[in-house]
């Protein structure tokens, strides 16, 4: 075993969003930092998550644009196209490569020492890389992230049963795909492959897809996906995955089987706890427990990001990494706050939310709802992208914004404004003092806030 001379203020395990941000942040504050990564920098997000899916979805948008071209007077000689799947994958990989090498450059420019290999913490709280190199540090940030979770169901090992990792590497477009699990990942994949031309069936156990978003948003998304011929089965349980002459037969409890070329299992993700090594952490159903400072039950070891499974999102991992770094370097002082962290589903149209759903808000507050439909938004009309709405949930006493739910164009961008409103405790009456540029999609947020107050100009007045 090699023993390194160097000793660090902070050692980070894992180079995903939580880890690389923690490392850079700690370095920015003057700490001497090492980071250990066993695969590629950027973690799930850059390599197998956020970025690859968005590259595919954009391709889908191009195809949709093309399909509405004729009605706008752009007459293509032919509207036929084929998907060159190896090229799709290669394009995606080249985007990923640029971003991951970008992360490495960021780390180097901040003088973070880079170790490649599997890190495990030993009994002395040293970090051991590939069972050989020992690194010593004052504090450890364990940001191992997550991996796909599997279900224990007969036939799960069929080679045509895929994880999202596998699906994103596939260089033959499947004709048919069954998506088991209609959460965010399942639905984004469904949307992406639908746009490329695959025939999709989504199978969800709960009574609606993406149960985490507002009921109305989920319902509209369901309707829109069905219109694109995505088959959606809710309240449906699968019992077995059987081989059927090279296809997969997905057996359904009390119903007819679904046959598909490939099956995507997208039922959730589990913390990757390989880095724990010899340390016993307080756990909670496979997750490393952390306090509001992102510190684990073991003093001096922090665990930001998917590894604590509080909210498995890249931007949450970013923030957790920042908080962990600040506390590791300067002592526990910065608390994690997540009440204004948005969630986005990158479908077309996009679905986005922040704060409470209407159901949740009504339990705790006396609420007023403001609503604006994109059907009446000038930019949405001009762009032919006018399905959806913005719903603002405010408390009726102070006009505080409790939640915002959007289905529609630019939802992912508009929701950041809503997050800012919530973070800065800006009331609906203050929002409408701001001048929103015209024509913009985000005017819909302005109008929805005005509607909370009964002052929206662009909403037809209900007659009594």
């Amino acid at each position: 075993m090699t023993r390194l001379e160097d000793s660090y203020n902070v050692i980070v395990i894992g180079g995903g969003p939580a880890g690389y941000v923690a490392a850079i942040r700690a370095a920015q504050q003057g700490a001497k930092v090492a980071i250990v990564e066993k695969k590629e920098f950027g973690g799930t997000c850059l390599n197998l998550g956020c970025i690859p899916t968005k590259a595919y979805l954009k391709s889908g948008e191009i195809i949709e644009g093309m399909e509405m071209a004729a009605s706008r007077g752009i007459i293509f000689e032919s509207v036929k196209y084929k998907i060159d799947m190896p090229r799709v994958v290669q394009h995606k990989n080249s985007v990923v490569k640029k971003l991951t090498s970008g992360v490495e450059a960021l780390l180097r420019s901040n003088k973070v020492d880079i170790f490649k290999g599997v890190a495990r913490i030993n009994k002395n709280k040293d970090v051991v890389v590939d069972d050989s190199t020992v690194i010593k540090g004052d504090k450890i940030i364990l940001a191992g992230g997550s991996k796909v979770s599997r279900i224990n169901i007969p036939g799960i090992d069929n080679p045509n049963v895929l994880t999202s990792d596998d699906l994103l590497a596939l260089d033959v477009l499947p004709e048919t795909l069954a998506v088991i699990g209609g959460g965010v990942i399942g639905i984004e994949m469904a949307q992406a492959f639908e746009a490329l031309g695959t025939k999709i069936t989504v199978i969800e156990m709960m009574d609606r897809i993406i149960p985490s978003v507002d009921a109305e948003a989920s319902a509209l998304l369901t309707k829109l996906l069905k219109k694109k011929n995505v088959k959606i089965m809710t309240s449906t349980k699968i019992t077995e995955l059987a081989d059927k002459k090279g296809k997969v037969e997905v057996k359904i409890e009390g119903g007819e089987s679904v046959i598909a070329d490939k099956v995507l299992i997208s039922i959730g993700r589990l913390p990757d706890t390989e880095g724990m090594g010899d340390i016993q952490f307080e756990m909670e159903r496979g997750r490393i427990k952390v306090d509001k400072y992102m510190e684990t039950s073991v003093k001096g070891i922090y665990a930001p990001g998917d590894v604590n499974a509080i909210k498995m999102l890249a931007h949450v991992a970013f923030r957790m990494g920042e908080v962990a770094a600040d506390n590791a370097v300067k002592g526990n002082h910065r608390e994690l706050k997540l009440h204004s962290a948005p969630s986005v589903v990158y479908t077309h149209p996009e679905v986005a939310m922040v704060g409470l759903t209407e159901e949740q808000a009504r339990e705790k507050y006396d609420v007023r709802i403001g609503r604006f439909d994109f059907a009446a938004n000038g930019r949405a009309m001009a762009s032919g992208d006018n399905v959806g709405f913005v719903k603002v949930i405010a408390d009726s006493k102070y006009g505080e914004i409790l939640g915002v739910h959007i289905v529609g164009p630019a939802a992912a961008e508009i929701i950041n404004q809503a997050s800012l409103l919530m973070e800065m405790e800006i009331t609906v009456d203050e929002v409408i003092k701001t001048i929103y540029g015209h024509p913009t999609y985000s005017e819909a947020l302005f109008e929805a806030c005005a509607d909370v107050l009964g002052e929206a100009v662009h909403i037809v007045k209900k007659q009594k």
Binding site: K397, Y398, E400, E425, I426, T427
Partner: protein, 61 residues
Amino acid sequence: QPPVTEKPRRKALSTPVARAMARDLGIDINEVCGTGPSGRVTKADVENHKSVRKPSSLRVS
């Protein structure tokens, strides 16, 4: 020569929700100690102020 790392300082600010709440409760927002970003007085600060205030008004000084 080390870089000047003096961080920008800020105005005394309050959030709109904090202002609405203070108005509603008859609290002078300027008396509330701000703990929010930039020292901004937040809703939580007004709520805390409210609970701190009560006993102090009973205190004979």
